[in-house]
């Protein structure tokens, strides 16, 4: 337990110290959201209709960008080898790390969705549900992303490859997450989508850290 608390504290300090780097992902999210009105028709009808898709696609892209910082430095510093010797099981270590990563990259995205949704003329009541879907969905993105980040951590330029590996896997989260917004916009109940997202989150919390640990061990083998 004390080891776990120490680990949580250490991860907090680490991310707080790197907050300048980490904040880039939410900024990318804003920029991608801004591109759509500029590239399309900026009429309220069009924007509101496509707002869930835009916000979710942008948060997917921002998440993949953010994952660059998840393991790369850790692997080169020998942190992974240290954690393999630590008293805590590696999946638990990675779960804590992923949640801390989400706190600094996913949570800001969900909060920024409020002003950006407003700017896209998305109705208020529906926007609340859309933000709820982001709060449920973005941790899934980070947890699943840990697998891709672990596999590509040892490469010099793994970022492009990581997005190629991860984006197909993110499709279900996008469908249900944006589905919440679409249903809410049309005045339909969105509980089914929200429950499915919650279900994915639980499954990801239980399963994804094991796969990430396996991936990270494979990457640590040769480097």
């Amino acid at each position: 337990m004390r080891a776990l608390m120490a680990h949580v504290q250490r991860e907090w300090q680490r991310y707080w110290g790197r907050r300048g780097d980490v904040i880039q992902a939410p900024l990318i999210f804003c920029l991608v959201c801004i591109l759509f009105p500029l590239g399309g028709v900026p009429s309220p009808d069009h924007l509101a209709r496509y707002a869930p898709a835009v916000i979710w696609a942008a948060s997917l892209i921002a998440c993949v960008f953010g994952l660059e910082t998840l393991y790369r430095q850790e692997l080169s510093e020998g942190w992974v080898d240290a954690m393999l010797l630590a008293p805590l099981p590696l999946p638990l270590v990675l779960l804590v790390k992923s949640l801390m990563h989400w706190l600094f990259t996913g949570l800001p995205v969900a909060l920024l969705a409020w002003p950006l949704g407003k700017a896209l003329y998305f109705p208020d009541a529906a926007l609340q549900l859309l933000i709820l879907s982001l709060l449920l969905g973005t941790p899934v993105l980070v947890l699943l992303g840990g697998i891709g980040a672990g596999l590509t951590a040892g490469m010099g330029r793994g970022g492009l490859l990581m997005s190629l590996l991860l984006i197909p896997m993110y499709v279900p989260v996008l469908i249900f997450g944006a589905g919440v917004g679409v249903a809410a916009h049309d005045g339909l109940p969105a509980t089914a989508q929200l429950y499915l997202l919650a279900c994915m989150l639980l499954a990801a919390i239980v399963l994804a850290p094991w796969a990430s640990a396996a991936a990270l061990k494979i990457s640590a083998e040769s480097s």
Binding site: I147, L151, L165, I167, P172, A211, A214, S222
Partner: protein, 244 residues
Amino acid sequence: MWLWFHRLGSPPSFYPFAGRLAVILAVPGVLLLLHGLYGALLSAPADYQQGEGYRIIFVHVPAAWLSLFVYSGMAVAAVIALIWRMKVAEVFIVDAAWLGAGFTAVALATGMLWGKPMWGTYWVWDARLTSELILLFLYLGVLALDQALHDERQAARACSLLALVGAINVPIVHYSVEWWNTLHQGPTVSKFDSPSMDSRMLWPLLEMALATSLLFGTIVLVRMRASLLWRERHSRWVREMLRN
């Protein structure tokens, strides 16, 4: 049984075995392919609605089946490769991924060619089409990961893990896409009524599917032999075999 399984997992005994098995699979594969093609292109009657254009399914359906079948095979091999670290299974994953990506691309291309005259458009955002497209990207991801890692064993283990995670993901993607489609546009696209298919069309289709599977086996075994030779090029059995 266990002993046989373990012995087969070692490259020196797998190599000649794969060579023999490739021939055993190739002979009925080619015969079935020729007979199936004759049945498909000549003896089966034209469809009363689609005319001659429907004949593309004799290529399309086997390719689509194989694209899913190969991915499941890769997942099984991935489990074997991760648990027992068997080299033969590791080689299978990457070699099968090349062929699986090919089948997926063929299924998509033939489907699009069929869709243009039948549906009036090359592409519809139908659940099946979309999940097949995502499957293609999953295959390409495995291949890209294999290319990016220079250490062969590390690449194989990384690909195994990715194939396994992808295999869990494929049904989730499939059902979520299906659900998304039905929510948005409803069943606009008519599908085949397979039970009402005439037996003169069904038999060539099954023959073609079996032939494609057998020939997949042949090609993957030949590829695996080549990959094993390259990987084990510094080992003694390869040198001794080449000397003789």
